[in-house]
């Protein structure tokens, strides 16, 4: 009995959160719908609000912007920034631009895969970390570079990866 109510409450909370997010997305659409060429900006903001861009959200955006779903889907699938699957709490973005690669970026990737037990593009089972290979972050002067959330870690030593990860809960 107790757990049923708890479950029901959780579901209600989830639903409320979901509505909030979709409302926020609608607000974004309203701001941008009349300006030419703003679909990408809308998708960025929507992804920030919702966390990712599943088909349902794409549908909402398509309707709001007056585009077909296939058009919006085509744009989402083209750009690497947009994700149709949920992302982890902390995205570990490893730069494999030339300078970072030359300075041993690949070894950092291998080490992280070993440490977390997942491959590039995957999420840890507890949803905490995901490993993403990113394009050049423009911090080549301090290669190799790893970006976790908003923090840019520079001159990363693969042997000291654990210490860096320990900072993120």
């Amino acid at each position: 009995m107790g757990t049923d109510t708890k479950q029901a409450n959780l579901l209600q909370d989830d639903a409320a959160e979901e509505r909030e997010k979709l409302d926020a997305i609608q607000a974004v659409i309203q701001t941008y719908r009349d300006k030419p060429g703003c679909l990408i900006a809308v998708l960025h903001l929507a992804q920030e609000i919702y966390g990712y861009l599943p088909l349902e959200v794409q549908r909402v955006i398509a309707e709001g912007m007056g585009e077909t779903l296939s058009h919006v889907s085509g744009v989402v699938s083209f750009y690497s920034y947009f994700s149709t699957v949920p992302r982890a709490r902390h995205a570990i973005k490893i730069c494999l631009g030339t300078a970072c690669y030359v300075r041993g970026g690949k070894r950092i990737v291998d080490r992280l895969e070993e440490e977390l037990g997942i491959s590039v593009g995957e999420r840890t089972p507890d949803g905490k970390f995901s490993i993403i290979i990113t394009r050049c972050l423009g911090a080549c002067g301090l290669a190799p570079v790893v970006m976790i959330d908003e923090d840019v870690h520079q001159q990363v030593n693969p042997d000291k990866i654990e210490k860096i990860l320990a900072k993120y809960q």
Binding site: A99, C140, A143, Q154
Partner: protein, 1029 residues
């Protein structure tokens, strides 16, 4: 505050400058992206707090600026009026610096830039080569202005150029840009003036100007820094451009990976609007223009202009066919001009100082300056702006400080995934559009990634192709499928599955894709591959034919970097593991499978393995060489008479080896183990070659060498001493009676320096000098000796002189200490023993007295200038810098050459410097059945290289004589598996025992006493076991 006239600009500038002038000290803190990630914000805040706490507000102004350029030294703090640059400033340092510099008035030099070569600090920024070599036009405001303040920008001359431009005819603005010779800085290099002219002439109506800030090239971060550091400069450049072409709306397309740049530019645009510099009737001219930012979403192809425009339109970023060109039909179908950030950054300077002024910089066809982003294996990475035509070598060495940690420059990748590499031989290349195209590279956006010998060029080609394949939009077949096929081939090669026909196929595919791909991305995609094929073909061939990755990157082809670097391929992690487990004799036997001279090599090897040891990135490389010596000595002292070995039955074939040096004896050893009858002919009375005659006993004791030679003889090798081929026995006799011959007589004859006076009494060449000492002849050494040279022979000669009673020994070398070929330890020990080292000096002539004896050596000082074909700075004599070193003995030790009377140039093919030409594949000379290796084929080289040649020759000879080519290495030794170390700690090398310098010079006792057992085991435990998979 609204700016509506030049008078308004002047007023704002004056107000700002007056405000700043009120304080004596100006502190500028670098807030470039790199410094931000180095923690500059905390340092800045600490500085601000200190200023407040100590009530220094009227004495100090602090400006938080954009990128100063020297990213690897950040956080950077610059203090005027003195112009002092402080590097790597932590919050605590910031407080200390302000306390001492501002309050006390003294400059804490220990916080300033340290020149690693001289070991001295250079406090003033203008004296640091990284900065003094630059000419900043595009970067003029970066690191100077407060990027968030319009007033700061105006006070530094911002918008003056705009005012001037708006007072000119639009056509005149276009002409000024044409006059400047400015070419697109994004990579295309198309003349900007012509582009603007096309935009100006395009049909009237809606026009657009776009700034391409996508900067997708990995390794390029110039545009990012420009936007983050001088956003108002970019805005000004765009307004001028828009005015010239007649556009009313502009977009800045910034990639999503640059959030800081987006943020700072947004603020600047807002402020510009508020001030009336964007919007209607700009500066009262009647011209209307506004600017918007569009953010990318992670697609490299959107750096291509048609794809970019589609992305601005909110569509998929797929390129479209050109023509129509953007100036005809671009964004939303209207005439559009697209320029790169750096191009726009140059525009205000051009309009302010004039096109002719800009054209006074650079070369004939490449005017102005270029910003380069230095990254990769380089000491000082960051941004540097130099005039077009500045050489690559100067950029890498003078500004960049060269490759760190004694690495060697291998290539510089320029132009990103569309570009190519520039090699050591081309370091004198001027950096300008045409010179680079001639080399098969491109200027690109200016990203320059320096690669050292640890980079595999095949893997680099694969890396770029992987990137391009991933970023290919997929629209056209040549790019979508072509890049994938090229990538597959490259991946196979890096896995060790390369095939001979792959190289031709790569070339074919590359040609096809270049000609048929629809957009720039595809058309330039094959460039990195073509460039690496052109300059590094031997690496591709090694990967395919020899399954060898010299750089130690393609892990499928080797056990570990150390094993890969060893010419003999010794299983280093294997013997580390055995030592760890106390199995010293097993470790010795494991080494002996690949190298029959562990005791010798453990003392004199140049240990290329240690240079590649991964542990060095953590604390210090493993003492691999010393550990080899430990197990060899242990085995020698605990020798077991029975060794469980595999013996091959004798066959009926005979092989002759000429020369009982390390190469010859190794070859003989392996051939004997395969059952061949081997006769080694040695002209001297002792075996060992250079090991016996060229290395003093304090480095390699006699008994160690003799023990290992005896073990080789026990395999069944017959050594015939005092038998010179061509005198005691004829070469023809060998040809008739032996089925194969291995020649390895080395380079026994010293080279002359070639200066007057070399024949005087008291000039004793290095090699014969050492030989005479070892043969037991009485050698008289002068009181004051000068040794010429920088290799092991020079060091050995110098140290032997000290031991033989010379009062002063000086070594002169024409380059710098770090360029000396001798082992670092040898140089250190020599200096400890009192030897004087004079670098950058070259001998001119030996001066004699009236009896024809040496009385002095005249030398000239050298300086390093441009670069030779090996990528090393070339020493050049400084005129009128002669001076004389008083001495009574001169020992030249400047390399050796080979000489062998038993074959002439008519019989066998020789190289230009007298060594034998051999096939790289099997070491055969031009005579059938006659092989050669060691110094005789290579020129003076190391012992381990000679040993590796001996092994290879044995294998080739076996193959030649009908065998399988597989050597008999005995029973396999089981190696303990790697164990994950849960408690690993940072620890440098465990100490070795050495004789104290004072004791050493009393005689020729061995200096290095080797490892104690406890330390040896501890040292071996530091091994990271890079062989684990």
């Amino acid at each position: 505050m609204r700016i509506q006239s030049t008078a308004d600009l002047a007023a704002i500038a004056k107000a700002y400058r007056d405000e700043q002038a009120g304080a004596k000290y100006h502190v500028t803190v670098c807030g470039g992206g790199a410094c931000v990630s180095s923690g500059c914000i905390a340092s800045r805040d600490a500085a601000l707090q200190f200023i407040e706490e100590n009530k220094l507000g009227d004495k100090v102004r602090l400006t938080f600026t954009g990128c100063m350029g020297m990213c690897s030294m950040g956080p950077l703090v610059y203090i005027e009026p003195e112009g002092v640059l402080y590097v790597k400033v932590t919050p605590d340092m910031a407080r200390d610096i302000l306390g001492r510099h501002v309050i006390v008035g003294e400059i804490p030099e220990e916080y300033t830039f340290l020149d690693e070569k001289t070991g001295r600090h250079i406090p003033l920024m203008k004296d640091v080569p990284f900065f003094s070599e630059q000419v900043k036009i595009a970067l003029r405001n970066c690191g100077k202005v407060d990027y968030a303040s319009l007033e700061s920008a105006v006070a530094n001359g911002g918008f003056e150029a705009l005012a001037r431009a708006l007072s000119m005819e639009r056509k005149a603005v276009v002409e000024e840009v044409k006059l400047s010779g400015l070419r697109g800085r994004g990579g295309g290099g198309f003349p900007t003036g012509l582009k603007w002219e096309a935009g100006y002439k395009a049909r009237e109506g809606d026009k657009y100007i776009i700034c391409n800030a996508d900067e997708g090239d990995p390794g390029a971060f110039m545009d990012r820094s420009l936007i983050e550091s001088d956003p108002f400069g970019l805005i000004e450049g765009m307004i001028i451009g828009a005015y010239a072409i007649g556009a009313q709306k502009g977009y800045v397309y910034i990639r999503a990976e640059y959030p800081i740049a987006v943020e700072r530019l947004s603020v600047a645009i807002e402020k510009s609007r508020e001030a009336g510099l964007l919007g209607e009737n700009i500066l009262g001219s009647g011209f209307n223009f506004d600017l918007e930012i569009r953010i990318g979403a992670g697609a490299f192809v959107c750096g291509e202009e048609t794809a970019l425009m589609h992305s601005v339109e909110g569509l998929r970023g797929e390129p479209t066919q050109k023509p129509p060109f953007p100036f005809e039909s671009g964004l939303f179908g209207c005439p559009t001009i697209i320029n790169n950030v750096e191009t726009f950054a140059n525009v205000p300077a051009i309009l302010k100082e004039g096109g002719a002024w800009f054209a006074s910089f650079g070369t004939e066809k490449s005017k102005g300056t270029k910003v380069f982003a230095l990254a990769g294996d380089i000491r000082y990475s960051g941004l540097a702006e130099v005039p077009m035509g500045y050489t690559l070598g100067d950029l890498v060495y003078k500004i960049g400080g060269g490759v760190p940690r004694r690495g060697r420059f291998k290539a510089a990748q320029i132009g990103g995934p569309s570009g190519g590499c520039i090699t050591r031989e081309n370091l004198n290349t001027p950096l300008e559009y045409d010179a680079l195209t001639a080399l098969g590279a491109i200027m690109g956006s200016g990203g320059l990634v320096v690669m050292s010998e640890d980079t595999c060029m095949v893997d680099t080609a694969r890396f770029f192709m992987d990137f391009i394949r991933d970023e290919s939009c997929g629209k056209c077949v040549p790019c979508r499928i072509g890049t994938k096929r090229m990538l597959e081939i490259l991946e196979r090669i890096t896995r060790g599955e390369g095939r001979e026909e792959d190289l031709q196929l790569l070339n074919e595919l590359a040609g096809n894709i270049k000609e048929t791909a629809m957009c720039g991305l595809g058309q330039t995609a094959p460039n990195p591959v073509l460039s690496t094929l052109r300059f590094f073909m031997h690496e591709f061939e090694d990967h395919i034919r020899e399954h060898r990755c010299e750089a130690g990157v393609c892990t499928n082809m080797f056990i570990s970097p150390c094993q890969n670097a060893c010419p003999a391929g010794i299983n280093v992690p294997g013997y580390m593991a055995l030592i760890q487990n106390g199995r010293f004799v097993d470790a010795y036997n494991l080494i002996r499978q690949e190298n029959p001279f562990p005791g010798v090599c453990g003392r004199v090897c140049t240990h290329p393995c240690e240079d590649k040891c991964r542990r060095s990135s953590r604390d210090e490389a493993l003492a691999i060489c010393d550990l080899k010596r430990f197990v060899a000595d242990y085995a020698m002292n605990h020798a077991e008479s029975y060794v469980d070995d595999i013996k091959y039955p004798m066959n009926d074939k005979k092989v002759a080896v000429v020369g009982a040096g390390p190469s010859g004896l190794t070859c003989a050893y392996y051939l004997a183990r395969l059952g061949y009858t081997v006769d080694v002919f040695e002209s001297q009375s002792q075996a060992g070659g250079t090991l016996a005659y060229g290395i003093p006993e304090y480095r390699l004791p006699e008994d160690i060498l003799q023990h290992e030679i005896k073990l080789i003889e026990q395999e069944g090798v017959h050594i015939h001493l005092n038998t010179e081929v061509g005198r005691n026995i004829s070469f023809n006799y060998l040809r008739e009676n032996y089925q194969a011959i291995y020649l390895t007589t080395g380079t026994q004859f010293p080279n002359e320096v070639g200066i007057p006076g070399e024949g005087l009494k008291g000039v004793y060449h290095g090699l014969p000098f050492l030989k005479d000492i070892r043969s037991g002849r009485r050698v008289k050494v002068g009181k004051r000796v000068v040794v010429i040279g920088g290799g092991s022979t020079a060091m050995d000669a110098a140290r032997s002189c000290v031991r033989l009673g010379a009062e002063k020994v000086t070594v002169i070398y024409r380059r710098e200490r770090e360029d000396m070929p001798a082992d670092r330890r040898e140089i250190k020990e020599a200096l400890e023993e009192g030897v004087e080292l004079v670098t950058l000096a070259s001998p001119m002539q030996v001066l004699g007295d009236d009896k024809g004896r040496v009385r002095g050596l005249e030398c000239q000082r050298m300086e390093l200038n441009d670069y030779d074909a090996n990528g090393r700075p070339r020493p050049q004599r400084i005129r009128s810098s002669e001076y004389v070193i008083d001495c009574d003995m001169v020992i030249p030790a400047v390399s050796q050459h080979a000489d062998f009377p038993f074959i002439t140039a008519q019989d066998v093919e020789l190289t230009a410097w007298g060594t034998l030409v051999t096939s790289k594949h099997n070491l055969m000379t031009s005579i059938e059945g006659v092989f050669a290796g060691g110094d005789l084929a290579r020129g003076p080289d190391t012992a381990i290289a000679a040993i590796a040649d001996g092994k290879k020759a044995a294998s080739s000879i076996d193959l030649y004589l009908g065998g399988s080519g597989k050597l008999n290495k005995g029973r396999p030794i089981e190696i303990p598996p790697a164990v994950t170390d849960e408690d690993s700690a940072e620890y440098g090398r465990f100490p070795l025992e050495e004789l104290a310098p004072e004791t050493r010079t009393l005689g020729f006792r061995e200096v290095n006493r080797g490892y104690r057992k406890l330390y040896a085991v501890a040292e071996a435990t530091r091994c990271l076991r890079c062989d684990r998979r």
